[in-house]
């Protein structure tokens, strides 16, 4: 099964579970969790089921396209279900079968792994799922997001697409994966991997990035003053990515680091709290819809 078929298969499977299938969000981010479809929508009482593939940028992991496993940008397939369904583990295992992974032919285990994202004021409990010793999925019951207790609790399933594909296609090097018939992962991504790595480690302008961070931060606050949650959050994401670029460049000392993280976290918390207020002001529309559907 090639990379593209995997994505389509997972989209199809989770669409069948009544997940809203959306497209990747258009602002840089380090993980699918930071997409507002997860970060904001897992807050508050409204039901929410969504699935999407998310290109995720981790500047510090860039290796000029030379390392067989590490990438500046990788792909996560993200599923959120709120409230977490009773049969969520069974659904997940069913999705693996759709990808051609027969559990009787493999060793699949749920190994404790607790997730925490300090910049988002978020944490949860769950597992990493092992396929024959390889971590292929992060499976988390969110307990807090943006410093707010999750009630009901959302479950997040994050498939590491490159890892899964390298297993399914039996490839040692990520760049040898087949994206679609005749085109490899390397054909699509090796060139940008090299350039992004070169830019991140050798070229990026530290003074400009520091300036951008402050500008984005100020703009996020300005938008927040008007209760414009979504635009404000976009700028929080930009702050976060800018911080990652600075960090990868080695431009942030240990003491400064804590300062940057708490600046992002404070913004994220403020956005989360305002989002909840705004949804409440709107009367939690999805909650009403859910009741109508059930009623």
């Amino acid at each position: 099964m090639n990379f593209q078929q995997m994505t389509l298969t997972l989209q199809q499977f989770w669409a069948e579970q009544d997940c809203i299938v959306v497209q990747p969000y258009d602002t840089e981010k380090g993980a699918g969790t930071m997409n507002p479809m997860t970060f904001l929508r897992t807050i508050g009482p409204e039901p929410w089921n969504v699935a999407y593939v998310e290109p995720s940028r981790r500047p510090a992991d860039g290796r000029y396209g030379e390392n067989p496993n590490r990438l500046y940008q990788h792909h996560q397939f993200q599923v959120i279900m709120k409230p977490s369904p009773d049969n969520i583990q069974e659904l997940y295992l069913e999705s693996l079968k759709r990808l051609g992974i027969d559990p009787l032919q493999h060793d699949i285990r749920f190994v404790e792994d607790n997730w925490e994202a300090p910049t988002l004021g978020a944490w949860g409990l769950g597992w990493e799922v092992w396929l024959d010793g390889m971590e292929i999925t992060q499976f988390t019951y969110f307990q807090q997001v943006g410093g707010i207790d999750c009630h009901p609790v959302a479950v997040e399933i994050t498939y590491g697409m490159e890892r899964l594909a390298s297993y399914i296609q039996e490839k040692e090097n990520v760049f040898d994966l087949e994206w679609v018939n005749g085109v490899t992962y390397g054909d699509v991504f090796k060139h940008p991997e090299y350039e992004h790595s070169k830019y991140t480690f050798e070229m990026s302008d530290v003074a400009m990035l520091s300036q951008l961070f402050s500008t984005y931060e100020a703009e996020a606050k300005r938008a927040m003053d008007e209760n414009l949650v979504f635009p404000a959050y976009d700028y929080v994401l930009k702050c976060s990515h800018t911080f990652n670029l600075l960090d990868a460049r080695g431009a942030i000392s240990v003491t400064e680091r804590t300062g940057y993280i708490s600046r992002v976290r404070n913004l994220a918390r403020a956005v989360a709290a305002t989002f909840l207020q705004e949804r409440e002001r709107l009367g939690f529309p999805l909650l009403k819809k859910g009741e109508e559907a059930n009623g």
Binding site: N69, P103, E112, D132, G133, C150, P152, V153, Y167
Partner: protein, 696 residues
């Protein structure tokens, strides 16, 4: 009549490290509830896998036992008025015991008459108690980390997905987080199916049919049999560490042991790195040959049967290949750097906000270690090694390998140091200075490692104490107790001539010179340090099987010189052992008399022979002068039994002295002279032990 009871809590995979504790708790709480509820039973057995916690009560009585006991009320004069009518107090008592006033009666106790009632209640049917008791029991289990799920409020280790509550063949009805009890359990996730449990006694066998070994011991034996089978077949030695076995045990319901291989070229990386990577990342058991050398194979336990084992092995090999490639990469990259560049990075790593960077700590360790080497009169070569080791003892903290595997600190330092051309004695000491790393670990074997190890640990302790981090109760986040115990065991192992007060003085001096603002007064820190270390020495004495009264007596004379403290304790223990203690008793009595009276003396130790009125005084003084010479020499040579013998020899002259003279003589000069003599003797006695603390 009696029936069996089964409670099974079906869960999503519980973290392996919590399962055994939860199982023990379930058994314990079940037994406590049964006892408190007056329910008799034959046995309670607990079972656990990653997906379930279960308890079976065998031979559970159908009814609570009846109660028939007398309850004592107020005295007669309070219970009845002058007319013999029941007072309010008596009526209240009757009501509280659930009896009519007519049923009250009197009984005498200690010459006073009291009102009594027979409190009796007929035992309730067990079946009636269970619907309330079982859900309470299930939700009362506590876990180190809890979570919520769905729309429920319950905080529990992982979501509850099914429940069995079976009393005989009857389901006990209740519900937790929307899950209703039944008599259907779930088999192995992939190999088994749902299965109906007709009666509790079928539980273990029914689940075995569905490929779940619920009995922990049975599962463990299955894993060990698999490992041993493989070892015998291949001629391997498979290193089974208990904590890893325990974790694996709670990761699987059907264990199947398998092995895989990795490229022998990875064996160029230090063995500890490979073993740590396999254990920590993959939960693999390493394979060794008869000489203890790592082989290019690993052993793992699958949660499943033997189907397609090659696929599973191949997958695991692929993962390990990537892991080991990373390790190899780190190992090569680290060697491209040099010690100076690593040391420079330590300047940017915060050790503790108030105690500076790791580089600051290293500078203090160096200063302390140099002073210690001087104090110990170490030779020139040792001093040079100590200085160099102290300077570079932390450089590996910023290597990629130690960043990835923090437990390899020191081990990598030693390996890289050799590669960077350091002396072998220095490389070895870098690794040793962390020792003892845990309660079962040995102190540094080399003197250089010992000195730097002590310097590193005392710097941590003094630093923490000086900013107010002093362990209390169970709070010891920086493991200061372990570090202090490490210093004590190192002092003992090397027989170092270093007193604790010298050690504290040196460390406090270096901290004072570091230019950091001193948050607490040195005097207060010193006092805390003394008490803190005295407790560590006390632990050592207790571990040495020294009697508790001997421990108290010895510590009464302080623990400043750790080595001599232990030797004093051993000498005193021997002198007061059965068979010898009778002969030693007169000495103890003499010491106590001397010390009691010496308390009346002033600070003067001026003994003037011209003021002796009786021959016994001169004799005692002479005996002391003789004994004191021996005691001083023996103490210097750490021959504490000889010192005690010499002191005991004073017992005769002391007794003769007390028989011959009145210490509290009328004449002040004579009195003071006698007290000064006793005080002089008492000084020697008290520096050995506080003999008054010995049991007769």
């Amino acid at each position: 009549m009696a029936k069996d009871l089964l409670l099974e809590i079906g869960l999503e995979e519980v973290p392996a490290r919590f399962v055994r504790g939860a199982m023990d708790q379930l058994k314990d709480k079940t037994e406590k509830w049964l006892d408190a509820s007056r329910l008799s039973y034959a046995a309670v057995r607990a079972y656990a896998t990653p997906r379930r916690l279960a308890v079976v009560v065998e031979g559970l009585a159908d009814k609570q036992s009846d109660v028939n006991e007398e309850a004592k009320g107020p005295a007669r004069k309070i219970a009845q008025d002058e007319n013999g009518a029941w007072t309010k107090a008596a009526l209240g008592f009757a009501r509280s015991q659930g009896v009519e006033p007519e049923a009250l009666f009197f009984k005498e106790l200690g010459g006073v008459e009291y009102v009594y009632a027979i409190k009796s209640s007929v035992g309730v049917e067990t079946a009636g108690l269970l619907p309330e008791a079982l859900p309470t029991l299930a939700t009362s289990l506590s876990f180190p980390k809890n979570m919520r799920w769905g729309g429920y409020d319950l905080r529990y280790v992982r979501p509850i997905r099914w429940l069995i509550a079976l009393h005989g063949d009857e389901v006990v009805p209740f519900e937790i987080t929307g899950v209703r009890t039944g008599n259907v359990s779930r088999g192995h996730r992939f190999l088994g199916a749902d299965t109906t449990i007709a009666v509790p006694s079928d539980y273990v066998a029914k689940l075995r049919e569905q490929r779940v070994l619920v009995d922990v011991e049975e599962r463990k034996q299955a894993i060990l049999a698999g490992i041993n089978g493989l070892a015998a077949e291949r001629g391997w030695h498979i290193a089974v560490k208990d904590d890893l076995l325990e974790e694996v045990l709670f990761l699987v319901e059907t264990p199947t042991v398998l092995s895989g291989s990795f490229d022998a070229s990875f064996l160029n990386i230090p063995q500890e790195v490979l073993i740590t990577s396999m254990r920590e990342h993959q939960r693999y058991f390493p394979v060794l040959n008869a000489e203890g050398k790592l082989q290019p194979h690993f052993v793992t336990v699958r949660n499943g049967d033997a189907a397609a084992l090659e696929t599973v092995a191949k997958g695991n090999e692929k993962v390990l290949r990537a892991r080991l490639s990373d390790a190899k990469f780190f190992y090569q990259e680290d060697q491209k750097g040099g010690i100076p560049s690593f040391l420079a990075k330590l300047e940017n790593i915060v050790y503790h906000e108030e105690l500076g960077t790791v580089a600051d700590k290293v500078r203090r360790v160096r200063a302390i270690a140099d002073k210690l080497a001087q104090q110990l009169h170490a030779g020139e070569e040792t001093r040079q090694d100590v200085s160099r080791t102290a300077d570079i003892c932390k450089f590996d903290l910023v290597t990629q390998m130690v960043y990835e595997f923090p437990e390899l600190q020191g081990i990598m330092g030693a390996d890289y140091a050799l590669k960077f051309g350091e002396r072998p004695s220095v490389a070895r000491a870098i690794n040793e200075h962390y020792s003892p790393r845990n309660a079962n670990d040995a102190p540094p074997a080399s003197l250089v490692g010992a000195v730097v190890g002590i310097a590193d640990k005392i710097d941590t302790i003094v630093g923490c104490f000086s900013i107010g981090i002093v362990p209390t109760g169970s709070q010891d986040p920086y493991a200061l107790r372990r570090q202090a115990a490490g210093i004590v065991s190192t002092l003992l192992a090397h027989g170092l001539e270093l007193t604790l007060s010298d050690l504290f003085r040196i460390a406090l001096g270096v901290h004072a010179e570091s230019g950091r603002a001193q948050k607490r007064e040195a005097f207060d820190v010193l006092k805390d340090l003394g008490e803190f270390f005295a407790l560590r020495v006390k632990n050592v004495l207790t571990e040495e099987q020294i009697r508790y009264d001997v421990v108290d007596a010895i510590l009464g004379a302080g623990a400043d010189d750790v080595r001599r403290t232990v030797l004093r304790a051993q000498a005193l223990q021997a002198a007061t052992a059965e068979g010898r203690k009778e002969a030693f008793r007169p000495a103890v009595e003499a010491f106590n008399r001397v010390c009691n009276l010496a308390a009346k003396a002033d600070d003067s130790r001026q003994v003037d022979a011209r003021l002796f009125m009786d021959a016994a005084e001169g004799a005692l003084y002479e005996a002391w002068q003789h004994a004191h010479g021996i005691v001083t020499k023996a103490a210097a040579e750490a021959k504490m039994a000889e010192a005690l013998d010499a002191l005991s020899g004073l017992s005769g002259p002391v007794t003769a002295f007390f028989e011959a003279v009145m210490v509290m003589a009328e004449d002040e000069a004579i009195r003071r002279n006698r007290l000064a003599l006793l005080a002089t003797i008492a000084d020697d006695v008290k520096s050995f032990a506080d003999f008054a603390k010995l049991n007769g």
